[in-house]
C-alpha cells in the first residue's frame, strides 16, 4: 500500500505541475499584469474600431491611425499618482520620438477611462501640465460606455474605485502596429526604453 500511495502521490504532483504550468503560461506569468504582456506578444489582438473624441473636440477612430505606430496609455486627468508618471512618460516620448512623429510614422494617444469628467478641455489641460509640444500627442475620451468597455477589455485595463473618490488602475505603454494590432505592452516609467523599442520597430 505504500507503493500505491507513492504512485498516486507522484501522479498528483506531476498532474498538478503540468496544470500549474498551463495556468501560468509555462511558469512565466504569476500575475495578471505579466499574463497580458505575454498574451499580446504571443497573439497580437486587433484594437476595436470605436469612436473617440480628442482634446480639440474632433472625432477620431482607431482606423485613422492605420499605417502609423501608435503608443497608447490609459489615464484619468484627476489622477494624483500614476497618471502623473504616465503623462511625464508621454511628454518625454514626444521629445524622444520627435523625428518619427514629424514624418507621421508615430502617434501618441492617451485615452481617458473617465469620460464623464474628462471633457476635451480637461484633456487639453492635462497635456498642457506636462508641457505638450502640440504635435503627435493626442488625448481622447471614448464616446460611449460600450466603447470604453471594449477598449478596457481589449487592452486589459482594470479600473477600480479607490477610497478617495478616484481610481486605481494598471498602467503601461501599449504599442499598436500600423495594421491596428496591439503587439506589445511595455512598463510605464521608462520612456527611454519605450522609445528604443519603437525605433527598433521603425528600423525593421
Amino acid at each position: 500500500m505504500p507503493l500505491r500511495t507513492l504512485l498516486a502521490s507522484l501522479a498528483l504532483v506531476l498532474a498538478g505541475g503540468a496544470a500549474l504550468g498551463a495556468a501560468t503560461d509555462g511558469f512565466r506569468a504569476f500575475t495578471t499584469e505579466t499574463a497580458r504582456r505575454i498574451a499580446v506578444r504571443d497573439h497580437p489582438v486587433a484594437v476595436p474600431a470605436v469612436a473617440l473624441q480628442s482634446q480639440s473636440g474632433a472625432r477620431l477612430r482607431f482606423a485613422d491611425f492605420r499605417g502609423q505606430w501608435l503608443l497608447v496609455d490609459f489615464i484619468y486627468t484627476r489622477c494624483p499618482t500614476v497618471c502623473l508618471a504616465l503623462g511625464g512618460d508621454f511628454a518625454q516620448l514626444q521629445r524622444l520620438l520627435a523625428g518619427p512623429i514629424a514624418t507621421g510614422r508615430v502617434r501618441l494617444l492617451s485615452i481617458s477611462f473617465d469620460p464623464a469628467h474628462d471633457s476635451p478641455a480637461q484633456l487639453a489641460a492635462y497635456q498642457q501640465r506636462f508641457g505638450d509640444l502640440g504635435q503627435g500627442w493626442l488625448a481622447a475620451r471614448p464616446l460611449s460606455a460600450d466603447a470604453l468597455l471594449q477598449l478596457k477589455r481589449t487592452f486589459g485595463i482594470t479600473v477600480i474605485p479607490d477610497p478617495y473618490g478616484g481610481y486605481t488602475h494598471n498602467t503601461a505603454i501599449h504599442v499598436v502596429d500600423p495594421r491596428g494590432r496591439l503587439v506589445e505592452i511595455l512598463d510605464s516609467g521608462d520612456a527611454q526604453r519605450a522609445a528604443e523599442d519603437l525605433r527598433r520597430r521603425l528600423g525593421s
Binding site: M1, T5, L20, A29, E33, N170
Partner: protein, 202 residues
C-alpha cells in the same frame, strides 16, 4: 441514521455553497483580497469537508489502500491549494466566470474533501510535515504580500494586499504557538496506540 446524517451533510454543504454564490454575499467576499482569501476560500474548504459524511459508506475504507497514512489525500489538497495562492488566479477568479467556477468546484472537492478524508488517517509525522508546510506557506505568502511594493492583483488595492499579508503572518504566528502548545502539553493518542513496527500494516 447514517442516511439521515448523509442527507444532512449534503444539505449543509449545498446550503453553504448556494449561500456563497448569492450575489450580495459573493460580492462582499470578493470585494477585498483579504476577504477572498481569509473568508471565502476557507468557507469553500468547509463546504468540501462537510461532504465527507456524504460519501458512500464503502468509498472511504476502500480509498485507504491508495492513501497510506493519509499521504495521497494531503498531497492532493496541497497541490490544489497552490493554484489558489497565485495572485493571477485570485485576480481572474473575480473577473473571469470560468476561473470563478473552477474555484467553487475545486476548493471543496480537491482540497476540503480529500483533507477531511485523509487527515484522520495521517500519522504523527505526516501531520507534522503537512502543518509545517502550511505554516511556512502562510509566512511565505504573507511576507510576499506585505513587502511587495506593487499591486499583484489588478482587481485589488495595494493597502488591501498589505493587510492580507499582515493577517497571513499573524495567522502563521498563531499556528506556530498552537502547534508548540500542542507539542508541549497536548495528548497524542496516535503515539500511545502506535503498534510495534513489526505489525505495521501491509
Amino acid at each position: 441514521m447514517s442516511r439521515a446524517r448523509r442527507a444532512c451533510s449534503i444539505g449543509a454543504a449545498a446550503l453553504l455553497l448556494l449561500g456563497l454564490r448569492m450575489p450580495p454575499v459573493k460580492g462582499a467576499l470578493e470585494a477585498t483580497m483579504t476577504a477572498q482569501m481569509l473568508l471565502l476560500m476557507p468557507l469553500l474548504f468547509v463546504a468540501g469537508a462537510l461532504l465527507r459524511a456524504a460519501l458512500p459508506a464503502r468509498i472511504v475504507p476502500r480509498s485507504a489502500a491508495w492513501d497510506y497514512r493519509g499521504i495521497t489525500g494531503l498531497v492532493l489538497a496541497s497541490v490544489a491549494s497552490v493554484f489558489w495562492l497565485l495572485p493571477r488566479l485570485l485576480d481572474s477568479a473575480v473577473s473571469q466566470p470560468a476561473v470563478d467556477a473552477a474555484r467553487y468546484v475545486s476548493i471543496p472537492l480537491l482540497i476540503g474533501l480529500p483533507f477531511s478524508v485523509s487527515w484522520p488517517r495521517a500519522s504523527f509525522i505526516v501531520r507534522g510535515v503537512f502543518l509545517l508546510e502550511c505554516v511556512a506557506t502562510l509566512f511565505r505568502m504573507g511576507w510576499l504580500y506585505l513587502i511587495w511594493p506593487h499591486r499583484l492583483c489588478n482587481n485589488y488595492l495595494l493597502d488591501d494586499q498589505q493587510r492580507l499579508g499582515q493577517y497571513l503572518v499573524l495567522i502563521g504566528l498563531a499556528a506556530c504557538i498552537a502547534i508548540a502548545a500542542k507539542l508541549l502539553w497536548g495528548r497524542f493518542d496516535a503515539l500511545a496506540e502506535a503498534p510495534p513496527r513489526a505489525s505495521a500494516q501491509h
